[in-house]
Amino acid sequence: MTRANLIRQILRIGLLCIIASFVLGPLLATVLGGFKSNEEIQTSALSLPAVWRTDIYAGILADPGFWRYLGNSLIISVATVVLTLLIGAAAAYVFAQIRFFGSRMLFSYLSLGLMFPFATAILPLFVQVRDLGLLDTYWAVILPQTAFGLSLAILLFRTFFAELPKELFEAAYVEGCGYIRFFWRFTLPLSTPILATVGVFVFVQSWNNFLLPLVVLNSREAFTWPLGMMQYRGEYAVEWNRTLAFVTLTILPAVVFFVAAQKYIVAGLTGGAVKG
């Protein structure tokens, strides 16, 4: 390796370390915070704990409320992912395969949803959910989340589906396979990269969603974990160590999900770039 190359490598690795530290620093502080006392967090947030306290984590793990929140979040997120993938893929399949009057306009209209800020819709959404009698149910969160996730899902799916060779459908069609069967037997199995990509986006978004559950869920029974976390914020004091330990434990499933799907995500994002 030449000297210039070596310097360039060192610079590159240094830069990557700095960028990684932006992500890992707060994460580390969060994980470590769960082992500290509140006073220690206030004085030295980033250092290793002077005394490793495990009772905070243990306390949260032993709390049935924590597991209930986690379960609620999991049900809502999984349902949102499944619904978004199914509806989004079906809609995108139609846009990619069939040319019908107004398809371009309809597609543009759906894409407009990308520009619509979620927070602006929160009041009408609440009214709608209340009128439908869905308050305090999982559907109150699942349905709006699916609706808002669809624009991105359809946009990504359509591009991917459009790149599946047309002859594949024709070959199946000649054999007697119709559009719907083709969707289940060909489009979905051949689209795992993009399904994983969109699935992870939707899952993480739903997992971390705070505003919508806050507005439509009032019963503690139906709380998702971001709402459950609020119990550690008193009127006068915040139990930071509990909050941080809680956050650490609740982001774990999202991280696991991401790592599991990571291989496909990279393929999904670059899938359209090169033919191969």
Partner: protein, 336 residues
């Protein structure tokens, strides 16, 4: 019986008419090749027989039955695509019996048919592989296997060999001819390669701009091309097309003579010519020559005649093998 007949078929895309009023009969059990330059409408024609395109007007009859409005799967046809269109997530066996599964055929019979197709196409040891693990020729065979298991009355093949390298193409050509002989089914084959057309077909259909220029047996087309276009298209190296005056006929627009029908002499002849480029192929020597009033004329000589660029020779076209064409490019029957 599975004769394919096209009655007054017209196909337009918007204002663009790709095929104007075309009639064609493909006899039962024949190997018919549709050939023509790209964009001549031959693939569109095949897709209309398959049912992937609907004709704007006219009727498609397969085995005497009007199938113009019928779904492809009910036409008793099968199709092999240029890109093979194998299903990438299925094994070879699953690819081959996909259509049979859709027909809800009993498992035992399905396995039997797949095994038979695999035996015919020498695919037995690849049945559990995915298409991505196969070579080009093997993929081609899987695509053919997929079409033969259904016992269709008519096979449609859309440039099936164009993605293969030259050596493999020659081999697959032989295999296709053998397959046709053993199955006895009607085959309609689209290609832009006149060599494939000549070697495979019992009947060649030469197309240009959506119209049929000539239909006939390969040697009929070779011996008596009906139009100037067919004369230029069929045969390799190409027929020489010369102005009528070069053979002393003012009433003739174009006179055609094949490279092998020109006599060469050192001392006398109709044209005094000079060799510009000489290609030695072994059995043959192809010489590209120029003569007075003629830019370029191709001559096929026996391989033992050694010729160098720059050599001067006399050329004489064999009068019996002259093809004469009028202003419209139609064949004139009176020989020179």
């Amino acid at each position: 019986m599975a004769e394919v007949r096209l009655d007054d078929i017209t196909k337009s895309f918007g204002n663009l008419t790709v095929i104007p009023e075309l009639n064609l009969t493909v006899p039962d059990g024949s190997f018919t090749v549709l050939v023509g330059p790209s964009g001549c409408g031959k693939s569109t024609l095949l897709r209309m027989i398959a049912g992937l395109e609907t004709p704007s007007r006219g009727r498609v009859l397969i085995g005497g039955r009007n199938v113009t409005e019928e779904e492809p799967s009910r036409r008793e046809i099968s199709m092999v695509f240029q890109s093979y269109a194998l299903f990438p997530h299925m094994t070879v066996a699953q690819n081959i019996d996909f259509g049979l599964r859709l027909q809800k055929m009993p498992k035992l019979e399905r396995e039997e048919r797949v095994a038979r197709a695999a035996r015919i196409l020498a695919l037995e040891s690849y049945l559990d592989r995915k298409p991505s693990q196969l070579s080009g020729g093997q993929r081609q065979r899987v695509a053919i296997g997929r079409s033969i298991v259904r016992n269709p009355k008519v096979f449609l093949l859309d440039e099936p060999l164009s993605n293969l390298d030259a050596a493999l193409r020659g081999q697959m050509r032989v295999e296709l001819a053998q397959l046709h002989r053993s199955l006895g089914a009607t085959m309609i084959y689209v290609t832009h390669d006149q060599v494939e057309a000549m070697t495979l077909a019992d009947q060649i259909v030469v197309m240009k701009d959506g119209r049929i220029e000539q239909v006939g047996a390969p040697m009929d087309l070779y011996d008596r091309p009906a139009t100037e276009f067919v004369a230029a298209f069929i045969g390799s190296p190409k027929m020489n097309l010369l102005p009528g005056r070069s053979i002393g006929r003012q009433d003739v627009k174009t006179a055609g003579i094949r490279p092998e029908h020109i006599r060469v002499d050192g001392a006398e002849g109709t044209w005094a010519a000079r060799a510009e480029v000489v290609e030695t192929l072994g059995a043959d020597t192809i010489a590209y020559m120029s003569a007075e009033g003629i830019d370029s004329i191709t001559v096929r000589l026996p391989g033992h005649m050694r010729l160098k660029a720059g050599d001067r020779l006399f050329l004489t076209p064999e009068p019996a093998n002259l093809h004469l064409y009028d202003e419209k490019g139609h064949r004139m029957e009176a020989r020179a």
